[in-house]
Amino acid sequence: MVVALRAASVIAFVLLWEWAARVPISFNFPSPWATLTALVALLRSGAILSATATSLQSLALGFGIAIAVGVPLGLVMGVVRPVGRVARVYLDLLIALPTAALIPLVILSFGINILSSAVIVFVFSVPFVTMNAYGGVRDVRPRLLEMAHAFDASRWQVFVRIVLPSALPMILAGIRYALSRAFVGLIVAELLLSPFGLGRLIMASRSMFEHDRMFATVLWTLLLAGVALAALARLEGRLLRWRT
């Protein structure tokens, strides 16, 4: 029954799309079929795959560094309380700020290249990785710390055997959320930056009024992000098997 409903909503969406393509609200609105054929053509020509590779490079670079920097920073913030209290203010501001506003500044500072994209991805994702690592450490159940103390555990042992495993779910959740933010940053950066990656492909198709190619690339991008997030969620599930 549930499956039927889900299938029905997908079918309804495709029909709605088909209808929208026929109604002349805006010229050159591609139909589902046109989008699909354009996607296949783009795949065949390799255009979309090379754009994906470029995009993923920036993403991997920026996101990887965000994790490498953010997790330790968050852990330090959680363990050394004064650092946490102060740094938290900066991070809250960074999270409150619409990060896209920083993009022109980054481009000015680093130029129009992959480094800029990576930096933007970094800025988009690092606050969430850090805040979640911080939160994970802070929210360790006091009872567990008390218990470890009762067994006379050293500070290092407490950190490795209690704090880290306890904080892991939140750290992973933060990484997963940060990945979705990273994609947002990547796409906005590329839509603005061109001439790189999937963003460039989208903008180029649009300016040439090849709307079917544009739609195809947008669809591909969304699917890519979806797959990446799902993969990360699966990994997270495996790492956290003890949480029924």
Binding site: M1, V2, L5, R6, A8, S9, V10, F13, I25, S26, N28, F29, R85, V86, V89, Y90, D92, L93, I95, A96, L97, P98, A100, A101, L102, I103, P104, L105, I107, L108, S109, P127, M131, N132, G135, A173, G174, Y177, A178, S180, F183, V184, L186, I187, V188, L191, L192, L198, I202, M203, R206, H211, M214, F215, V218, T221, L222, A225, G226, L229
Partner: protein
Amino acid sequence: MTPGARESDLGRTGLIAVAGLLIMWEALGRLDVSMFVLPVTTVAAAWWHLVGDGTLTRAAASSLVSLVKGFVPAAVLGVAVGLAMGRFATVRHLLDGWVNALMSAPLSALVPVLIALFGIRDTVVAATVFMFSFFVIVVNTLTGVRSTDPSLVEMARSFGAGEFALFGRVYLPSALPAVMLGLRLGVVQAVKGMVVGEMLISLVGLGERLIYYGNTFLIAELYAVIASVLLIALVTSQLAQALDRALIRWK
């Protein structure tokens, strides 16, 4: 809990931290570390100038209009859809795939689609604002309704409550905190959508000013606009929090 849902609570530590940052920034700026790090005072002067000649006010006004035009429908529709999805399993199964997928998707990828639909106009900004905030509001509302204590529903039924009474007197008040959370998160997302939308169409508003000053290397002005954007983000967030506190006093 959604990462980043912590509100910025500027206490004493906060003020000291911010003051420290500003002082360090001023120092680095004066030391001429890089042409892209300007002293706070220079930025403040540029900001004042922009306010004076009306550029900033005009841009901010345009941005805020788009924000309201996009957020209000997102809030109304989002809560309605969330309530429907929470209450009726059929609606939920029909829509939750889409809602969940789109909530974590890079919605900015859809802005070019919006441009194709509406052309290069400020409607695109309102549409982007709507898109960015709608799904968060739906998901939180939906969660709120679904987490209603079944014991309360049974109790109300035992006193003869019909569907309407159940909805209005049990489900709705029970879901209110979650709905408010959704609206608070939605406001934050709405402001982000506003900036992204304006930057991508590069036509009006603060986003356009960001692109312009970036292109013309007017760095002090660029910082000034960034600061304005941050200010708007903080004010709207605080307003949403205040509303939340005013409405929910029973926790």
